[in-house]
Symmetry: C2
Subunit: 349 residues, 2 copies
């Protein structure tokens, strides 16, 4: 019932007229970079703009300037704490630079990821950040790289999070090293019979963690029999079901390592539901240190990743605003410090 009269927003033209100056002057006083405009005029323009409720049309500005203030972020699942924490970092860093971030989700589907990247290019974002769990081996992989290369050729900047994806900038997470150290720590605590619940085998992050973990155990002369490694969805429910599978197989184990915290949470619940006290009967460890793992019982042993920082770094890496002292900053991968955190879920045996 309200007036659908829908006037269009005030334009710079309107403001100029209202202030009695030229379009150029209005533009300069409102957005211009090198400000060289009479203060009196500037005042009038600003006031006129205010009076009219004018806001710069970013789209038009982008078209005219040929560059946008948009950052596109691609995640597998925004409701997953891992990604939402990273997103928080990206958004924070972006807003500091006056950039707006648009988020798209891929649902861990390679085809969809490719489509999304293509669609996103229509936005002509200044930078494109891919935080999705890189998958491996698919034909999409090379299509994606082609798409991204072409994106960079036309002035865009891309940043990956997690796996090195040369020649693109990368915030490198040392999944292998982190999992390796975790394994060493756990072995040091006295654990001997390990089992791993990994994500789908196409997910690189998961595979790297599995590799590193295996390597770490090997250093202690502990081997990880294939039947003690199960693959499941990279989600809480995946962890839950993986545990059930492990339990059903009758495997003997004193510690379960889940490839990420979200899965580990599922592991803990599954153990408990099966009548096994997590941390007492069987130790549990995860990876990421998402906020909630401090609050489950027992608190989860994990490998800490400064998720928000990772997001922030990714953006800075792409925009070139990183504090990196590196000689060639922006080109090489930026390593992130990771740390094993022992909590109640893995008491000394």
């Amino acid at each position: 019932m309200s007036a659908p009269a829908s006037k269009s927003p005030a334009t710079l033209h309107d403001v100029a007229r209202e202030a009695g100056v030229s379009l150029a002057t209005a533009s300069r006083s409102l957005n211009g970079s090198a400000r060289k405009v009479n203060e009196a005029y500037r005042q009038r323009v600003v006031e006129a703009a205010q009076r009219l409720g004018y806001t710069t049309n970013l789209f038009a500005q982008a078209v005219a300037k040929g560059s946008t203030t948009t950052v596109a972020l691609l995640v597998a699942d925004i409701a997953d704490p891992y990604f939402s924490s990273i997103a928080a970092g990206v958004i924070d860093a972006a807003s500091e630079e006056g950039l707006v971030v648009t988020i798209a989700v891929t649902g861990r589907n390679a085809q969809r990821e490719l489509d999304t990247v293509r669609a996103l290019r229509g936005q002509r974002p200044r930078v494109l950040i891919l935080a999705g769990s890189r998958t491996t081996g698919s034909a999409f992989e090379e299509h994606l790289r082609a798409e991204l290369s072409s994106f960079e050729d036309t002035g865009g900047k891309v940043a990956f999070i997690s796996q090195d994806a040369a020649p693109f900038a990368t915030v490198l997470l040392d999944n292998r090293g982190g999992a390796h150290d975790l394994a060493v720590s756990l072995a040091g605590l006295g654990y001997r019979d390990f089992a791993v619940i990994a994500g789908p085998s196409e997910i690189r992050t998961s595979e790297e963690r599995l590799d590193g973990f295996t390597a770490g155990l090997a250093e202690h002369g502990i081997s990880l029999p294939p039947e003690r490694v199960v693959h499941a969805d990279f989600t809480r429910d995946g962890g839950y079901r993986g545990t059930q599978e492990l339990l059903a197989s009758g495997a003997h184990m004193d510690l379960v390592f889940a490839a990420n915290d979200v899965m580990a949470v599922g592991v803990v619940s599954a153990l408990r539901d099966a009548g096994i006290a997590p941390g007492e009967g069987i130790g549990v460890a995860g990876y990421d240190d998402i906020p909630t793992v401090r609050d489950i019982t027992p608190a989860l042993t994990t490998v800490r990743i400064p998720l928000e920082d990772v997001g922030r770094r990714a953006l800075q890496l792409a925009t070139g605003s990183a504090y990196d002292g590196g000689a060639d900053s922006g080109a090489g991968p930026t390593p992130i410090t990771t740390e094993t955190i022992i909590r109640g879920s893995t008491p000394r045996r």
Copy 2:
């Protein structure tokens, strides 16, 4: 070191030339609404576009058409499961309609919220969704309304989540009713000495829940003494500290209700750290039913809100694509069904 030659992306013009047709024909074959173009031509254009790696410049398109394909979403904190779940719903529904969503965070700061809305208007979004916890009483409130009204006057659509904010469209969450029912259920379980850890008193969502809870108790002849109500940050740590405060006051209580689940998680941890078994010594209840509360120990009693649906509904409400059969759908508030979920944290006494 790589070629910074940075050619600009292919334009529609390039495609037209490559295909040997006019700009208009190219436009019609690629984006046109009413398609009335010779199939042979269309083919050639599409192929040319593919060959050149052309992607429609959404900004330019927006400028030309005067309308965008952007949805702006405002949340208090994207890393908070409450908001990230809602965001997931919004993004999902948006992508179904070919809309891109940009997310901005306010950090529960009214001034910043206002600034952000203003900045976001520059994007000329089709719809603006405010999921942030509405604050009350501040002068910003009316500035915000003015800003939003003006946004709607110029063709935008705004949708609120949670509190009714007439005349704007709203996905109404019945905080009062939900908390009321929760209180009734808890009283029915035998609890008598209640305490509440609410959020900051300016946050409406928190106040409504407190109100409803108090009313529900009253129906059972139970009163909630003022000293049993503490206010704290609307975060996990807020819940933790609020609990410590409550404990320090020596208050006698058999149940703690936290105004949201994130806080309740903090409550559970604080109790445990204080040597009190949550669920045995003192019952704990929250609100929202965020994913993790199933996995903490004991599992948390709470009021379930279908968060993703809420996000989806908000978008549909704003774009008018809701399935609502309502006569005046789009104008009135859309109620969401909420439900009390009793779990291990509140055993019968």
